[in-house]
Symmetry: C2
Subunit: 188 residues, 2 copies
DNA sequence: TCCTTAGCGGATTAATTATCCGTTTCTGCG
DNA sequence: CGCAGAAACGGATAATTAATCCGCTAAGGA
């Protein structure tokens, strides 16, 4: 079994413990940022360190599992945005959601920025996200709403950059303005 | 003496060793990213670990000392940009230089993004940079070249964001396009 | 109920970070 | 020039953190 596999077909106790660990990790992360120690997670979840390492062989694997849920939400948002009748509205909604969700889940910000994923599920979701963004961008391009040279990867990177800019001590109002600036810059 | 003080009024050997350590740290960083271990720096510089810790009590202090030189360059560029006859040209030059220098020196990227500096010199340079940017933005604003609500801090953050976007696997061409997008977005 | 085996837990080992103090090296002064 | 005092070096060592390994527990099918 892949250590980062999703909850299906796990032994009952294993699934329980896995959930406890993810909850504990989320909690730790909310408290102290990205640099959670495996030991701390284990203690918070009331399990042994070995158990944490078995489920998540590496820190990156743990982060990806944490980010998976947020990533699903983001993919859903992107798909919805791609279907939005008004392309401009859809694009704005996607950027806004992408920013907000990254800010609320540092693990997702990390995973979105990472060049290559560790676990297969993340890879799939990333592909889905890229596809949805590409669809939206295609529509926007044919309508002349954006620069023609903009790719889905560009948008992903710019979104990560935007997140970084906001994380560096910006207020919510600042974030809105930066979003506005990016949207304006994307036009042809 | 402040451990991060600049080379003046140090004992001759001390200055020598300090320079060796900074060079070693730069080298290590070029090789393996931001997460250089003090031990590795010490070994590379041919000094004891204690010496490294005496000069740079914390990793952040070492990073700031590394970044200081790049930061000086950036300040000089910003001052020159603020004097540029054509405001648009000056702004473009500043952003381009700010991006390039951050990419070439990860320590600077870290320091620029940091909310509060550890050593006084960095603080001074940061202030100078902010002042130069503010001057440039004031001029641009009165000429109507940029959105009126843009502050020097905004520009700093956006520049850090841009750096992040590029670092995430973008090519040089991508970087130019992102720069273009940001510049376009800054207009009123 | 029993047997097999996946999975748990934490003691143990490895790696890293940070401190402390005996020794060396510099520099001002006689 | 050579000595005294101070400043700085260096690495052994303590403290913290990461990662592994294996004996034991308990889940779930026969």
């Amino acid at each position: 079994m892949s250590p980062t596999t999703n909850a299906e077909s796990l032994r009952a106790d294993s699934a329980r413990v896995r959930a406890r660990m993810l909850a504990a990790a989320r909690d730790r992360m909310a408290a102290g940022g990205l640099d959670l120690s495996m030991n701390a997670v284990a203690k918070a979840a009331g399990v042994g360190v070995g158990t944490v390492y078995r489920h998540f062989p590496t820190r990156q694997a743990l982060l990806e599992s944490l980010a998976a849920q947020s990533l699903e939400t983001l993919v859903a948002t992107a798909v919805a945005a791609a279907r939005e009748p008004d392309v401009g509205t859809g694009l704005a909604a996607l950027l806004r959601a992408g920013l907000r969700i990254q800010l609320s889940d540092p693990a997702l910000a990390e995973v979105l920025a990472a060049v290559n994923a560790v676990c297969a599920e993340t890879l799939d979701l990333s592909r889905d996200l890229a596809a949805a963004i590409a669809t939206l961008l295609d529509r926007a391009r044919t309508e002349g709403a954006i620069r023609p040279d903009l790719t889905a990867d560009d948008l992903r990177r710019l979104l990560c950059g935007l997140q970084h800019a906001v994380r560096i001590g910006a207020t919510d109002d600042d974030a809105d303005r930066y979003l506005d600036i990016l949207l304006a810059g994307l036009r042809p």
